[in-house]
């Protein structure tokens, strides 16, 4: 790896993180706006044009609040909790393929922080670490309610991770790759996984709702109704970090959904667009512009899923805790296993038949 390559890689990674942060920041604005619109009102519209400066105002407010650490709390862990939550959420965004490649003077720059051939495993590993943020926060607060809230949240996250992983296996069986880039390129054009894996998609998106602690699975959150979750003792920017991490998680999972099931930066007719652009503008510029279009498509999909998260939030009421566990263990996991069996059978028996028939 020479110096230029190293620098471009670093720049791309920073850009990815910055982008993730900005999107998460504006998700907080969008959430309130969507909430307003669905409830027939305007939502925030005072700070800046259409309320666009609202996230900054919120951040300012958070910074000026009292930074409070309970006397009996474990000080370092208390600080580590939110940082951990934020860190794990942010790290997962590193492997998301935002687009294909840029070509500058013959150099190929992949629009992906880290091109890893175990991308999806990495995402799962890092996202699973998010539980530590919650547990550490709840435990370090030295408050029994927080600890109970943390345990509640952790058990929810872990049980839904099981179903999520199982639903994902079907995808991995179909693509026989763990690399997100590879999974995306296999869904070339309109050949998206959602058409082959509708059941898996429903399980996956349900689980990612639970993973992000979003309604209808927001029992870790709901400070008002359930006397606080794991963050009862948190205030100021530390609470802000927890909440913000949730929004980053939401963006990451939206991106992952669009990568796994909706073809990432692929869209129908992209070959035609690509050939038109390259013939009109020359190989390099045409390629870059096609890449930009693909990236825009990717963001369109990811942002739609962020919107979907919010849409669901104002539609479905919260699950009771036992119902939530029932759904996770008794419905989603068996369904996911069923899906694996079906997919396995299809991959094993149907695919050779179809490929033979196509040839």
């Amino acid at each position: 790896m020479d110096l230029t390559e190293f620098l471009t890689k670093t720049a791309v990674i920073f850009a990815v993180f910055a982008l993730t942060l900005v999107i998460a920041m504006y998700s907080t604005w969008a959430e309130r706006k969507v909430a307003g619109f669905i409830q027939d009102r305007m939502g925030p519209n005072r700070a800046g044009w259409g309320g666009l400066l609202q996230p900054l105002a919120d951040a300012g407010k958070m910074f000026f609040k009292e930074d409070f650490i309970p006397a009996l709390a474990n000080k370092w862990l208390f600080i580590a909790g939110p940082s951990l939550a934020m860190l794990t959420a942010l790290l997962a965004s590193a492997v998301i393929p935002f687009g294909s490649t840029f070509r500058i003077n013959g150099h190929e720059i992949a629009l992906q922080g880290v091109e890893s051939n175990i991308g999806i495993l990495y995402v799962f590993g890092v996202v699973a670490l998010g539980v530590y943020g919650i547990m550490v926060g709840g435990w370090a607060s030295n408050n029994k309610f927080s600890l109970l809230g943390a345990i509640r949240a952790a058990s929810q996250n872990i049980s839904y991770e099981v179903a999520m992983g199982l639903s994902l296996i079907a995808i991995l069986m179909m693509s026989s790759s763990l690399s997100l880039g590879e999974i995306v390129s296999q869904q070339h054009g309109g050949n998206w996984n959602i058409f082959y894996q509708p059941l898996g998609f429903i399980i996956f998106i349900t689980c990612s709702f639970a993973e992000c602690n979003r309604v209808p699975f927001d029992l870790p959150e709901c400070e008002t109704e359930l006397v606080g979750g794991y963050h009862t003792e948190y205030g100021s920017m530390k609470l802000g970090f927890y909440l913000f991490a949730e929004y980053i998680n939401m963006f990451v999972s939206s991106a992952i959904i669009s990568v796994l099931y909706f073809g990432g930066y692929n869209y129908p007719g992209m070959d035609w667009v690509y050939s038109q652009l390259t013939s009109a503008l020359g190989t390099e510029t045409g390629h870059n512009i096609a890449t930009l279009i693909g990236t825009a498509v990717f963001f369109g999909k990811a942002l739609f899923f962020i919107f979907f998260y919010m849409w669901v939030r104002w539609t479905i009421p919260r699950f009771r805790y036992d119902q939530l566990m029932n759904l996770g263990w008794k419905k989603l996991i068996p369904l996911a296993i069923f899906n694996i069996i079906i997919t396995g059978a299809a991959v094993l028996f149907l695919k050779p038949v179809i490929t033979a028939w196509l040839n």
């Binding site: 969507v34 307003g36 619109f37 669905i38 027939d40 009102r41 849409w311 669901v312 539609t315």
Partner: protein
């Protein structure tokens, strides 16, 4: 025994497969909420847009003058006595020679103050006044205070400006409703505001 006619028969019937599948119900719910997303917003953006509160709304006080521009208040103190919040205080003075164009009666209020923090806008002062001098405007609120000395409103703020007289088209809910009906029927297009008696 039936206490109200709103009671509903509780049904314990089994859910159909469609209902138990849960997802169709979610889809219906999502369809309903997205309709609201595009629906017309009911919000009125308050400080810029103000809703008309009707003729019976009780806003800030005004001390009326009569048609010749003389102050109507005779400093009888009935409003202050009627006021349950004890928000009104005044100092009476005698009218001098040559001041007949200023004050309607021989006695007038040299100082008339309403403490807007105490006032509960009950409108009892308005009802108590024998001289039809004090009214609560239906079209203006008390502005937000930021300083203590803005709380007490003296005559400078209360006494009516002759160039911009305060009138009300309707005085009771019934009158307002009748007027609305007439307007809706196209009978009245422009009502000449009735001078305050």
């Amino acid at each position: 025994m039936q206490l109200t006619n709103r009671s509903k028969q509780v049904s314990n019937k089994e859910m159909t497969l469609m209902e138990r599948a849960y997802l169709p119900a979610i889809a219906t719910g999502l369809a309903i909420t997205i309709k609201h997303f595009f629906a017309k917003k009911v919000t009125i953006e308050y400080p810029e847009v103000k809703r008309y509160l009707g003729p019976v709304f009780r806003g800030r006080h005004i001390l009326k003058r009569d048609e010749d521009g003389r102050e109507r208040c005779t400093a009888c103190g009935l409003c202050a006595v009627a006021c349950p919040a004890e928000a009104i205080s005044m100092v009476a003075a005698e009218r001098e020679k040559g001041e007949e164009t200023l004050y309607r009666e021989e006695k007038y209020a040299a100082v008339y103050e309403v403490n807007m923090l105490r006032c509960i806008f009950c409108g009892l002062c308005e009802e108590a006044c024998p001289k039809q001098a004090v009214y609560l405007r239906h079209d203006e609120f008390i502005p937000v205070f930021t300083e203590r000395d803005q709380v007490i409103w003296g005559k400078d703020l209360l006494v009516e400006d002759m160039n911009n007289r305060y009138t009300r088209e309707a005085w009771t809910k019934e009158e307002a409703r009748a007027l609305d009906l007439k307007r809706a029927g196209g009978e009245v297009t422009n009502v000449v505001p009735r001078a305050i008696p």
